[in-house]
Symmetry: C2
Subunit: 214 residues, 2 copies
DNA sequence: GGTTGCATACCGACCGGTCGGTTTTCTGGC
DNA sequence: GCCAGAAAACCGACCGGTCGGTATGCAACC
């Protein structure tokens, strides 16, 4: 699994759909409560007791389904990354030209992040709490996304539709970085809808990428 | 004097220089140790005992100079924000046209953030831990920066040197957001110098802002 | 002789996780 | 259709340990 990375944005293996994992109602309640509380008070600021009370279950139930408090975090990360990779794969499968692909990926990512802003908040704030094994797994997934996205930019630059004034790596860092930053400024009840913001931000990035030399 | 500093938010007077606060050597050692540990293990992952050991002082010394662990965080934030506002004021005082101002502010902010990446890391990750009074103070300072920056964009748009395809508010969010995200990707020992990255990123943003209609 | 600048011993709250036990659900032999 | 027994689901009191913060002492200096 950890072999050579796909050199080009041909999509790698991002088109796979996640295995359908059945979760019991209790599991769901625990996960939902954990997500809400982690987002609100942070991982360390949330006690296991607080989670079980919010989920209206007992501690025994929680530790029956999960190994540890960290386990809850990992599950949250996993669901976020799985969804992002699935969305990415879906767009790539459409086989659009780079410019439309980048727009679709970015706008979709922003909309999806807005829709699951709690997960994004927890993710960006508490990622470092994972133990090293899980951290490696999460990082590998993120890297796949990063490399695939960068591949799109590179392809557009080779095709001449994107300016190569800024290296593809920097463009990727900047574009994905602003999405990761969303939890600090996006408000669901703000004046702009997520779709509007997604269009504005994607438009901004594409404006910077536009090849328009004489 | 348990409350906040004399609210320096009396106006958008970003050109003020920070008051020269004298700090004892012990204070400095404590602050430095706290910064390093917070950046490395997070606020909650760092015990007060750990800080005093790293600083080679005792708990009594720490609580002699600081009211609480949170106090240390606040001091770290303060030094970061003070520096940012001072830098911003300095650029504004030069009275450059919007395009050059934006470039100077952004590139300077990125370089400064790179240079104090630990502070930035702690800031972005642990801001939410502040109590509400201090949170309000920090937010007010950040807002001043935000509003001032947005003013620069708006001015450029009014002058016709910047495209108004993307609202100034969104541009500001995106531009400053990518700086806040730096701790997650910037490495001092990476292949690119901070100055190079600053130029690339500032160039990217300016490319998106360029007014270039036919 | 009081104020500053520390040192040391200690406290009570809380927290993640465990463990022995009980209830509910599933399974298959009759 | 029924029942026994195994497995899964769940309960909640409890524990060892850590952590932020405090109380008190004391030496040096104004």
């Amino acid at each position: 699994m950890t072999d050579t990375e796909p050199a080009l944005g041909d999509g790698a293996d991002v088109t796979r759909s996640a295995a359908p994992v059945r979760v019991s109602a209790v599991e769901r309640r625990i996960l939902d409560a954990a997500l809400t509380l982690f987002a609100e008070r942070g991982f360390d600021g949330t006690s296991v007791q607080g989670i079980v009370e919010a989920a209206e279950v007992t501690k025994g139930a929680l530790y029956h389904y999960f190994d540890s408090k960290d386990d809850l975090l990992y599950e949250i990360y996993h669901s976020l990354i799985d969804r992002q990779l699935a969305d990415l794969g879906e767009v790539l499968a459409r086989g659009l030209p780079p410019r439309e692909s980048v727009r679709a990926v970015l706008a979709g990512l922003i909309r999806s992040t807005a829709e699951h802003i709690d997960e994004a908040k927890v993710f960006s704030r508490e990622m470092h709490r994972l133990d090293s094994a899980r951290m490696r797994s999460v990082r590998a997934d993120r890297r796949r996304y990063h490399v695939t996205f960068r591949g799109l930019i590179e392809q557009g630059q080779r095709d001449g539709v994107f300016s190569d004034a800024t290296p593809a790596e920097t463009v990727t860092i900047v574009a994905l970085g602003m999405v990761n930053q969303m939890p600090s400024w996006y408000r669901a009840d703000g004046p702009k809808t997520a779709g509007r913001l997604a269009d504005e931000v994607a438009g901004f990035v594409l404006a910077a990428l536009d090849q328009r030399r004489v």
